[in-house]
Symmetry: C2
Subunit: 513 residues, 2 copies
């Protein structure tokens, strides 16, 4: 078989069953191999950021990597922003980037560039394949590297001739390394901290924000009377009625300082000690309060679920400390505002929904409103590189065809990768995009004040404003083959949202706030 | 003054009068300085590829750099594909990328990444600014570096604290280095080649494809009976009635081999010896025919216009050898096909038009058809990174507000940076986008055959096809605030094109081929 066939056979044997792709000439043998072999589903994205973001969303929900097939250096460059987010989410992704044929590279043809340097910025695993015979083993290693705890982006750079020449073989699957166990002594020490009567917070992140780990964390916090906190931007937070309520750390540093004020012990489970998202003049970025001791229960690459399990054996309440399984409120009938939208989502968010949250300045309000909605998953913008929301929703919908996906999407950041709507349409994905239009980069307007830059002048307003002209997201959605509507009242929103959930395929609801 | 003010003052003094921008928090002091000082026009792009491509188009037409203001590593990553094209066009661009404040970088906050490694892949000039006092001098050097022949991307990485702290000053302007003179001996030798009776071709590229250099080249070729050839993807080719006809080298290697067959001497003026765009199995990428000697008149960084001038003093025809200033044909009345569209453009393209060509598989036909249209500039996709066309048209229109811009845009590549249409709408730019819809990545379908992959299977067709659903570019344009229409006949196209040219502001014409 040729190298491309060995690639596809090996990836499929290693558990990769979806390839999000935006291929070019140097990847056509891989496309042909996907076609011939037929075990991996090919999903086309019309821009590489849609491809890599979808691979991120897919793996957040399955725990297994998808492949992301990209064309040369510029294709990888276009996909980097969402690989940056995947890196911050510790998501396993196998990136396959084509390269010019080996004996073509010295010509410095127009599309030649330094692909390895680009891939290096994602700080994952990288392998430049030498020949067709190398492809299979490299693919097996790539999957293992991507899966190896805590999950990372693994990039294979595959010259065209390594794809097209024969002499390749599918390689045996390589089991990923397992997460390291946390030392018993560490668990005992932290159990001791929890038994103290001092103000203590358990801060969860990474793999501790869902599944059994989250439930252990809830029981531990409940037994100890400790606060249960969650990192600001969890990759996948399970939440809703009956589930532990983990209070997310805020975005602005002064808000985090207020949240943490008085905390004497901060226990980290899969999370890092909190730092400010941006630096500000004459402010420290370290948000751990003075007098607070940080205890790391489980750091990167350790088995945080097992550590929380062991800790809960020593010190856990019998109950989850979960959010009340409240009777749902009625859908609101007020004016359509961020607040009434939150109430509407609280009333209508279906059980088992997957929420892709790139709501930016609207995020906190909508998250607070849906805290007691039926259980759902909440996927955050992990790395701050905007343009993640629609692609992640797309990948999550491919991963979980039986679950409704709700994409809470700010207008400014929607534009970056909006063509992912087309992939939703082509694949018939059940994604409901709630487009939150405030016609500005509102977070920047907030930061202008925060940086003490005073009243914004005309050019600053122009740089932060999305009006002149207003974006028409219903038209944009239609252009990509997704039906959309623009409710004028919250009743109309409720009807549109319910209809979108009931009908198969993607929908967009343009909410002007 | 603070560093941001020194940046703006120095850039303005150095001749930068436009800043294309997609700023974030770390660039807000620069935005405030642009606002306060008021000498540089700020133009917002809704995606970084729109920003960098516009900066490329602007400088192709003015010969001076614009600034491109980008947000941290992910912002630069999103702008890299079009910086790659700018690099291949030898376009001067000053990229200003914000970075986290110096004392914030060690926290590895979510948006932290290796900005210098990303910038390095563009192979231009890079400076990481250390402090506010460094900003002015670095800005002066950046402009000089960008302008220094043959033109390049100069990237300044500016930590937020270097922008916000005082202690900076505007720096004196640094004159760019001048192009090196070509040795008289080289010119004499090439004059000797031209006097030989052997089949000779003069291949122009870079700065030789417009202005006096082009005219010298036409006279030289005319006098010597040499063929005048042009590199495949010129950054800016002046062409049309009365101007020298430079036959562009084709895209596919076998076509170039046919074009060059029998050539004994190939003289390079601002161009490189031709190589294949991609490698193919068992084919050399070197397209210079056996038995052909390559003579470099003027390489990178030399004064190609002066060299052609000196050569034309020794060996030139009195006339330009230009395309006939033919009476224009009537606008066609046939079915709307690529051929009739070419005739329509030939009949209607206005004098002084700037054509941004990302027509991909439609490019050769439309270029051939417009060869004798009134004089115009033709801007090609220089680096093969698709998503250049709409942004370059945008920047060219900012550069030349009195000239009509015609954007010949393939459908597949349009999607990558389509939000540049919004910038056209906001700035009221006279750009007419002719959207060429064949509902596929047609060039890849061609390459499938070329690579001997046989009849494409179902998945391959899916990966190369843009239908299911069709993209509605009239809706997309409307979404970005640009009026659009979809003519059904060539008469309707003629009317729509004439109307679009006559009315101020951008328009899109969706041509389904």
């Amino acid at each position: 078989m040729n190298g491309a066939e060995a690639l596809v056979q090996t990836l499929a044997a290693s558990g990769v069953d979806v390839c999000f792709a935006n291929p070019g000439t140097t990847e056509l043998h891989v496309v042909a191999a996907l076609d011939d072999i037929g075990t991996i589903r090919g999903v086309l994205g019309l821009f590489e950021g849609a491809v890599t973001g979808a691979a991120d969303g897919y793996a957040r929900m399955t725990g297994r990597p998808a492949a992301a097939l990209l064309h040369l250096g510029p294709g990888l460059a276009n996909g980097l922003a969402n690989l940056h987010n995947a890196r911050r989410a510790f998501t396993p992704v196998v990136v396959v980037v084509g390269e010019h044929a080996t004996d073509h590279q010295h010509y410095d043809a127009p599309l030649q560039s330094d692909i390895a340097a680009l891939a290096g910025t994602v700080e994952g695993w990288i392998r430049r394949v030498g020949s067709a015979a190398d492809v299979g083993p490299a693919a097996a290693e790539a999957v293992a590297a991507a899966m190896g705890p805590p999950g990372r982006v693994a990039t294979m750079i595959v010259p065209a001739d390594a794809s097209w020449y024969d002499g390749a073989e599918a390689a045996p699957v390589i089991p990923p390394t397992t997460a390291r166990d946390v030392a018993t002594q560490t668990i005992e020490e932290i159990a001791g901290v929890l038994r103290s009567s001092e103000p203590t917070a358990l801060l969860i992140g990474g793999a501790a924000t869902h599944g059994e780990a989250l439930r252990h964390a809830g029981r531990i916090a409940g037994a100890a009377g400790a606060r249960l906190l969650c990192e600001t931007f969890p990759a996948r937070l399970e939440r809703g009625a009956g589930l532990p309520v983990a209070e997310r750390l805020a975005y602005l540093p002064e808000q985090v300082r207020e949240q943490l004020a008085g905390t004497r012990h901060l226990i980290l489970a899969g999370a890092r000690a909190p730092v400010s998202f941006f630096g500000y003049p004459e402010q420290s970025g370290d948000l751990v309060p003075a007098g607070c001791t940080v205890h790391e229960l489980a750091g990167t690459g350790t088995d945080v679920a097992a550590a929380l399990g062991a800790l809960s054996e020593r010190h856990a309440a019998p109950h989850l400390g979960g959010a009340p399984g409240s009777a749902r409120g009625d859908a609101p009938t007020d004016e359509l505002t961020l607040q009434s939208l939150g109430l509407a989502l609280a009333a209508l968010l279906p059980e088992g929904a997957i929420v892709s949250d790139e709501a930016i300045t609207a995020s906190a309000e909508l998250a607070a409103a849906t805290e007691t909605a039926p259980p759902h998953d909440w996927l955050s913008l992990t790395g701050g590189a905007i343009g993640q929301g629609i692609p992640v929703a797309t990948g999550a919908a491919v991963a979980c065809p039986d679950r409704p996906v709700v994409s809470l999407q700010a207008d400014g950041s929607a534009v970056y990768t909006i063509s992912a709507l087309w992939t939703q349409a082509r694949e018939g994905l059940d994604v409901t995009t709630v487009l939150l239009g405030n016609r500005s980069y509102k977070i920047l307007a907030m930061e202008v004040g925060h940086l003490g830059l005073g009243e914004p002048g005309r050019l600053t307003q122009d740089m932060l404003g999305l009006s002149r002209p207003d974006l028409d997201f219903v038209a944009l959605a239609r252009g990509f083959g997704v039906p959309g509507e623009r409710p004028g009242t919250v009743e109309e929103f409720n009807a549109a949202f319910s209809r979108a959930l009931a009908e198969p395929g993607p929908h967009l609801i343009d909410v002007r706030l």
